[in-house]
């Protein structure tokens, strides 16, 4: 059980206890820790002007006596019979249909924008103006990152053609956005990057054809809610995937935009299930605010190397806080009961 989730439950219990206390006249001067534990209106003798006794959890038929125990056990990951259990009941997979469809439309719009901006990038490369080409690259890269929730679901080959990174697999297979990035920031003649840009345009066109058919499962989608920014922290803010352009802040800003989109589509599902939604939205808003505050005067995102130490710490810190809140999302959206793991048969 996460600490955050624990805190939420404690807070809920405390609120319920206060409601309970409010229902009991004369109890306001006796609210101590002992009274706040069960979160129910305890039986009071004598002065009950409501003339009712509240023996069940408010708004439910769950016995007040067993409720606290049940909650405590489920928070520990087991139910009353000792089986593994989630602290929330699973939700049906079909309720993901609308959020995923909405997200797919969003991604398709960004894929169209990417294709347009790749064309602009090719024009700039042909014209031979490095500064203009770098700006065009930056725009196209941000477009691509807005696909956040789907890029891992594309066929590997297409992923590599769009934005493969030079791993030890070698330069031969290195093409796509990062290949052009390398050339633009290491002084390669801009026209020498035209073949890579042409290949990128082909890949972008293929992306537009592929997107409508990409399978996105509820689990994929719920997981993406936190993995987009996990990738931003691991690969972009560390600079490891953008070693030439140092466009880590730009990439993180795109990640925040797409994560807010994903969380927005999931809001109806998250509503009322613990506090993942509120915590995520708060942290995302704070991170957005921090990012806006480090923007350069001309509106561009600073490169990682342009950040002062204070700015860097604020971005890193807020990103880490956001990831903590988002990590509660997948568990909150579980579509299945916890599987009971079969026992290993004893040796014969």
């Amino acid at each position: 059980m996460s600490r955050l989730r624990g805190a939420v439950v404690v807070a809920l219990l405390a609120v319920m206890a206060l409601v309970g206390a409010a229902l009991i006249p004369g109890s306001h001067d006796r609210t101590g820790p002992a009274r706040a534990q069960a979160g129910v209106a305890a039986r009071q003798s004598g002065t009950n002007t409501l003339h009712t006794h509240q023996d069940t959890v408010f708004g439910s038929n769950i016995s007040a006596r067993t409720y606290g125990t049940l909650i405590a056990e489920r928070e520990q990951g087991i139910d009353s019979s000792g089986q593994l259990a989630s602290d929330l009941d699973p939700i049906g997979p079909r309720v993901f249909d609308r959020p995923i469809a909405a997200y797919r439309r969003y991604a398709e719009r960004w894929a169209a924008t990417l294709a347009r901006n790749v064309t602009r990038l090719r024009v700039a490369l042909r014209a031979g103006n490095r500064a203009v080409a770098q700006r065009a690259w930056t725009t196209a890269f941000a477009d691509y990152l807005h696909l956040g929730a789907v890029y891992g679901l594309l066929p590997d080959e297409l992923n590599n053609e769009l934005a493969g990174v030079p791993t030890s697999l070698g330069e031969r297979r290195f093409t796509g956005l990062h290949r052009i990035e390398k050339g633009l920031w290491t002084g390669a003649p801009t026209r020498s990057l035209l073949p890579a840009a042409a290949a990128l345009a082909t890949a972008a066109a293929r992306l537009r054809r592929t997107l409508p058919t990409v399978a996105i499962s509820p689990l994929d989608y719920a997981t993406r809610a936190h993995e987009i920014l996990e990738d931003a922290q691991r690969d972009l803010m560390s600079g490891s995937q953008v070693p030439w352009s140092q466009a880590g802040v730009l990439g993180t800003a795109a990640g925040v935009a797409v994560t807010r989109e994903v969380i927005g589509t999931l809001a109806p599902l998250l509503q009322g299930r613990e506090n993942a939604l509120g915590a995520s939205q708060n942290e995302l808003a704070r991170l957005q605010h921090v990012l806006n505050s480090v923007r350069l005067r001309d509106g561009d995102w600073p490169t990682l190397t342009q950040l002062s130490q204070t700015e860097r710490e604020r971005v890193d810190g807020s990103l880490a806080g956001t990831l903590g809140a988002l990590s509660e999302v997948p568990g909150t959206l579980e579509t299945q009961n916890v599987p009971q793991i079969p026992k290993i048969p004893p040796p014969k």
């Binding site: 593994l84 791993t167 880590g248 990682l304 990103l319 880490a320 793991i341 290993i344 040796p347």
Partner: protein, 421 residues
């Protein structure tokens, strides 16, 4: 006076001081030293902690630091040779063995000469306690290039580490002509050993990369419970038994069509693997356990009750109990066909600060000894390329090395086979 000679001088002054049971006699210009073994009673007079007196033999058919128990601390140091002749290279390798033998068996630090730098850095005080120190020397494929005419001596299965998918190897943290693995109980023992080894080879071997490792403490519940890695899971459970000599012969020691000098040696695979621990800590408990295939607390295979239980993959062909892509299942499928692929792991965890994004740079110095890296380590590694855990790790460095057989006595040194005709 070069450092080796300084040490001889040190030993000589000790002998003349008659320093108890540790008196050592010089045996002339051959470089070999004879002397009575350090005496526990005498040592106890200068060492308060008896664990510092634990001693691992340096000489033998195999090098120490392979089958010997893992002390808590380690440092891996990759060196490149700038020696201009084979003789210089051999001299520096001999130097490492000589110092390793002395330091690992315990020695008194004698009085320093007045006008020369002291022969020992002295950071361990008056007595260099053995402290379970082992120094293991291994050679990289690059040492067998054209520089020293050693191509014909190359162990047949020694290659540069091949590229695995998802590796992000930093050349500044990978490869090397010589790898030195230093293990001991205490960090200062290691630091001292590094100081003495490095200055002993100055001018001939230069540092390429280094990384410090540590063992998580033995926290039970049983004395034989495996310790945890930094993903908090027990690691090393399925290691083959080092006391099974026949098994070691099949899995660890070089065999087959190898140059004769390699007998008793083994291939050493070192991989510096960053573990993205913050990311890992944000993953649900059940998902973590299904990625590994084990219970996090007990280390038992999922569905089992104790760590060393057979996971019985054969009774779970569809992955109902342990997912088909779980780490333990891909790493060691426990089938007749994969039994010869097993490796002897002897890794250490590392912590080396924070990265540019403010994340902890923690991970695993994966170390494996095996008879044939292609048949064993690489085959396993390629299977693991599809495991879900790959999202949480990034291999950043390391290399393939060959750990020669052990030195056969004070006149011998690790790697002497290179110098024999």
């Amino acid at each position: 006076m070069n450092p080796l000679n300084r040490r001889r001088f040190l030993a000589g002054s000790l002998a003349s001081l008659g320093a108890g049971g540790a008196a050592v006699a010089l045996t002339g210009a051959s470089g070999a030293r004879a002397g009575t073994a350090p005496d526990l009673a005498t040592e106890a007079g200068v060492v308060a902690d008896r664990q510092l007196l634990a001693r691992v033999r340096f000489d033998g058919a195999h090098q120490p630091g392979i089958l010997t128990p893992r002390p808590n601390q380690a440092t891996f140091l990759a060196l490149d040779s700038v020696a201009t002749t084979p003789a210089e290279l051999f001299e520096s390798l001999q130097q490492i063995s000589t110092q390793a033998r002395l330091l690992s068996q315990g020695e008194f630090v004698g009085a320093a000469p007045v006008d020369d730098p002291p022969p020992d850095s002295g950071i361990l005080g008056t007595y260099n306690s053995p402290d379970s120190l082992t120094v293991t020397v291994a050679l990289g494929a690059s040492l067998f290039d054209e520089r020293y005419g050693l191509a014909h001596k190359r162990p047949r299965r020694l290659t540069p580490m091949p590229a695995f998918a998802l590796d992000e190897l930093d050349p500044a943290r990978a490869g090397g002509d010589v790898l030195v693995q230093v293990c001991a109980g205490q960090r200062d023992t290691i630091v001292h050993t590094m100081r003495e080894l490095m200055r002993g080879v100055a001018g001939q071997l230069v540092a390429r990369w280094t990384i410090d490792g540590f063992q998580t403490a033995q926290r039970g519940p049983h004395p034989n419970s495996s310790t945890r890695n930094l993903f908090a899971f027990r690691d090393g459970t399925a290691n083959p038994s080092v006391t099974d000599a026949a098994l070691m012969k099949r899995l660890v020691w070089a065999a087959g069509d190898e140059p004769r000098w390699t007998a008793g040696g083994t291939y050493m695979v070192v991989r510096t693997i960053r573990q993205h621990v913050e990311f890992w800590d944000r993953v649900g408990m059940l998902e973590q356990e299904q990625m590994i295939g084990r219970d996090r607390v007990s280390g038992a295979p999922l569905g089992g009750t104790h760590e060393y239980q057979d996971p019985r993959f054969d009774l779970d062909p569809d992955g109902q109990r342990i997912p088909l892509d779980a780490h333990i299942r891909l790493a060691n499928p426990r089938t007749a066909a994969t039994t010869g692929q097993r490796i002897l792991r002897r890794g250490y965890s590392y912590h080396r600060g924070v990265d540019d994004a403010g994340n902890l740079d923690q991970g695993l110095v994966f170390v494996a000894f095996n008879q044939d890296p292609e048949r064993q380590f690489a085959t396993i590694q390629r299977r693991l390329e599809t495991e879900p855990m790959t999202d949480y790790i990034t291999p950043v460095g390391g290399g393939y090395f060959f750990a020669p057989p052990g030195a056969r006595g004070a006149a011998d040194w690790v790697g002497s086979g290179l110098a024999r005709a």
